[in-house]
């Protein structure tokens, strides 16, 4: 029987999977089901260049329509999946249509986390996850208007940066004691708080939002004027289909090194997964483009029986104003954070996170060389001398000693 793959979810992981299947010589049929009405597109520019109007709609697409046509992919966009019938090897759509599969790939991604705040469902309250979200937000984006961002994570701060450039009056409210707390260390958080303040954004940390009312947001430190409100409260993996089908689900859909779920006929890739990472010796649930692409490549190789690509060190990036933040590795478990450069002045430094001298992660702020070198150093479990890392007279190429 000809192999038929059904992919549920049409994001970057799915697009990479299809591209890799083509490259790996897959000859069976592929059906791509996505709930948004769009071809797979890049989400990172949504909160950056696309929102700023610097990137047109068609340039968001990962691949043009002609690519899917040439690959022979059957596109079912704007289509919702209701359930997985594992017994019968079929995906059941919301309208009852059944799509039989020999291999199913769940690339269901994640969705914006909502907050149980009074008034969170009012008009003028936005989320930022999809093209539709940004189109709605763009229409309300005008100089002089006041914007309150609830949540000082990447999305919230990237949006705050674009809004400040567009001369909106921006306030960011973060419940934790520092911004971007989940992704970077305290030194980097403090830098970003300074950066945004220098650009005219009012950053408040350690405050909790009580309610969203017409024209303002009520908060533990008072009331903030708000013509519009953006909720940036993180993302939740879309694991419901998998869970209802009885697959093993933890922080995401649990997959093995080949991206296979607890059902050997079903793979899962991208934001919706949790996978053991050999380098970090634990299960990782990553919400990143790099992870989506890597798992797309891995699943394609596994499906076609090609060698599985070597595991890479996870990395992430965030662009705010003229500052490029590049993060590589994961700092959890570090016992020392070594700063290279001055985070209190200017806009360029790097923080190296070590555990007993072994490099675990780096946050590089306008420091691409440190970032690029560290990718390799983390992969090889390099042990580094903190004194050399700190000393800017030691060239980046000599950091290893």
């Amino acid at each position: 029987m000809l192999e038929s793959i059904v992919i549920v979810g049409a994001g970057q992981a799915a697009a990479q999977l299809i591209a890799s299947l083509v490259q790996d010589g897959f000859t069976g049929s592929v059906t791509l089901v996505g709930d948004e009405p769009h071809l797979p597109y890049q989400r990172p520019p949504l909160s950056k260049k696309f929102l700023a109007g610097e990137l047109s709609f068609d340039r968001l697409y990962v691949r043009p329509a002609a690519f899917y046509e040439k690959a022979g992919t059957r596109l079912m966009l704007g289509t919702t999946v209701a359930q997985i019938d594992r017994q019968d090897h079929a995906v059941v759509l919301a309208d009852g249509t059944r799509l039989p599969y020999s291999t199913l790939v769940l690339a269901t991604g994640s969705r914006a986390r909502t907050v149980p705040l009074p008034g969170a469902d009012r008009p003028g309250v936005y989320f930022l996850r999809t093209i539709a979200d940004v189109e709605a937000l763009k229409a309300a984006f005008a100089p002089g208007r006041s914007l309150v961002v609830v949540g000082g994570g990447y999305i919230g701060l990237e949006l705050a940066a674009v809004a400040a450039k567009h001369e909106l009056r921006v306030t960011v409210l973060e419940q934790a004691p520092r911004v971007m707390g989940r992704g970077v260390g305290p030194v980097v958080s403090r830098f970003y708080e300074r950066l945004h303040r220098e650009e005219g954004v009012d950053i408040r940390t350690g405050v909790s939002v009580r309610a969203i009312e017409p024209g303002h947001v009520v908060c533990s430190d008072g009331s903030h004027p708000a013509d519009l409100v953006l909720i940036g409260a993180g993302a939740l993996p879309n694991v419901e289909l998998a869970r209802e089908a009885g697959l093993t689900v933890g922080e995401g859909i649990t997959v093995d090194a080949q991206c296979r779920t607890s059902d050997p006929a079903i793979y899962a890739i991208g934001d919706c997964t949790v996978q053991h990472h050999a380098l970090f010796e634990r299960g990782l649930h990553l919400e990143s483009v790099h992870n989506a692409l890597e798992q797309g490549r891995i699943a394609a190789a596994a499906i076609t029986g090609k060698p599985i690509p070597a595991e890479q060190v996870p990395w992430f990036w965030s662009d705010q104003y003229d500052v490029k933040l590049q993060m590589v590795g994961l700092s959890a478990g570090h016992d020392e954070a070594v700063v290279r450069g001055n985070p209190d002045q200017g806009r360029s430094f790097a923080v190296f996170y070590l555990r007993q001298g072994m490099l675990l992660a780096v946050d590089a702020v306008n420091r691409a060389p440190e970032f690029m070198v560290s990718k390799q150093l983390i992969a090889e479990h390099a042990r580094l001398d903190p004194a050399r890392l700190r000393d800017e007279r030691v060239a980046v190429k000599d950091l290893k000693g």
């Binding site: 591209a19 083509v22 490259q23 890049q42 990172p44 520019p45 950056k48 340039r59 990962v62 691949r63 043009p64 002609a66 690519f67 040439k70 483009v289 790099h290 692409l293 890479q312 990395w315 990036w317 662009d319 490029k324 590049q326 420091r367 691409a368 060389p369 690029m372 070198v373 390799q376 980046v396 190429k397």
Partner: protein, 106 residues
């Protein structure tokens, strides 16, 4: 419009007609040129769209900005004639450009 030729590590040539209004990286990805990974989608954050530029073309391309220089400094397989294709906009002046793809982008 510009005709740009990519030479894959195997020596196989891949010539692509590219319209303006995009980067050389975007044109290559659309045309399924193998070996242009472009993981970050053009944010100059990953250095996985690197190519080697033929000598006669090096001076004809727009000069490298600081972002690109910094990313290239420690890019795997980098050479003096390396460029990141996401940083090169397609223009008519690029017609006939030939670039070589590195053995790997990692």
């Amino acid at each position: 419009m510009a005709k740009i030729t990519f030479e894959e590590p195997s020596g196989k040539l891949h010539t692509v007609d590219m319209a303006g209004g995009q980067s050389v990286m975007e044109g290559a990805v659309k045309a399924m040129v193998e070996g242009i990974d472009a993981d970050c989608g053009g944010a100059c954050s990953c250095a996985t769209c690197m190519v080697y530029v033929a000598a006669e073309w090096e001076a004809k391309l727009p000069a490298k900005q600081s972002d690109e220089k910094q990313m290239l400094e420690f890019c795997p397989h980098v050479q003096a004639n390396s460029r990141l294709t996401c940083q090169i906009p397609v223009t008519d002046a690029l017609d006939g450009l030939t670039v070589k793809i590195p053995p790997s982008q990692h």
